[in-house]
Symmetry: C2
Subunit: 124 residues, 2 copies
Amino acid sequence: MVAKKSKLIEEDGCQVKMVHLNRVRQAREDEPPSAELGRLADLYKAMGDPNRLRILLALRGGEMCVCDLAALAGVSDSAVSHALRRLKDLALVKNRRDGQMLYYSLDDHHVSQLLAASLEHLHH
Amino acid sequence: MVAKKSKLIEEDGCQVKMVHLNRVRQAREDEPPSAELGRLADLYKAMGDPNRLRILLALRGGEMCVCDLAALAGVSDSAVSHALRRLKDLALVKNRRDGQMLYYSLDDHHVSQLLAASLEHLHH
DNA sequence: TCCATACTTGAACATATGTTTATATATACC
DNA sequence: GGTATATATAAACATATGTTCAAGTATGGA
């Protein structure tokens, strides 16, 4: 790094303070498209709720029905159903009907791999 | 899966509806300790904000100072500073002072690996 | 010592979020 | 058909969250 003083740069009609112009340019180029960044943020946000995360972790061991997940998490069926809908919208889980019950499971292997990677990170 | 009818089980003084008792038991055994689950949720929650995520992704390319990150994300220095503090508390980033400026960078390799794994997940 | 720069911090405020409650749907069984 | 079970959904509410604004700290230079 060389620059020592910030410069005011004209951007989108307003002045922006910036020190390392080239570094910022590079970061902008390397940045994923904004839609992708948004989807990634949504993914993390969904996993950032303890109950939803508990559900995902539990499903690593195989499919479970709604009321079992409710019993596991210690919350109402309704709360779990809301959580599952969100996870399903993000393609983190899928379900299968058997009679009156819906069995939920992780949508694909990537999800459990992601969880495994994160748990490993926790253990430094 | 065999069970077809739910049973009311006494738990912690209240009745819980549950179908597959053994499956729930197994999920409970496999569950990480609650403190760890909480930390993991906090980690995801922190990464679930578009601006904080943008910062983390940008830092994959090397250290950056606060005002450059502000310019990149298009928010105020203050907002970035708040974001960075949170990321620092979670040991996702660290900083180094050089004169008046603080240069932030990813705390260790695990962080960029985690981001890489997630981006890969997005591309199915 | 005084001022400018780079960044941090705390309070305030508007928005987002998760859970509850009540109602609705879908399937099974009689 | 009628009732019970399993789950879904919508509105409402209380809490959590992120940004802004204003003031504070730290470093560097005149």
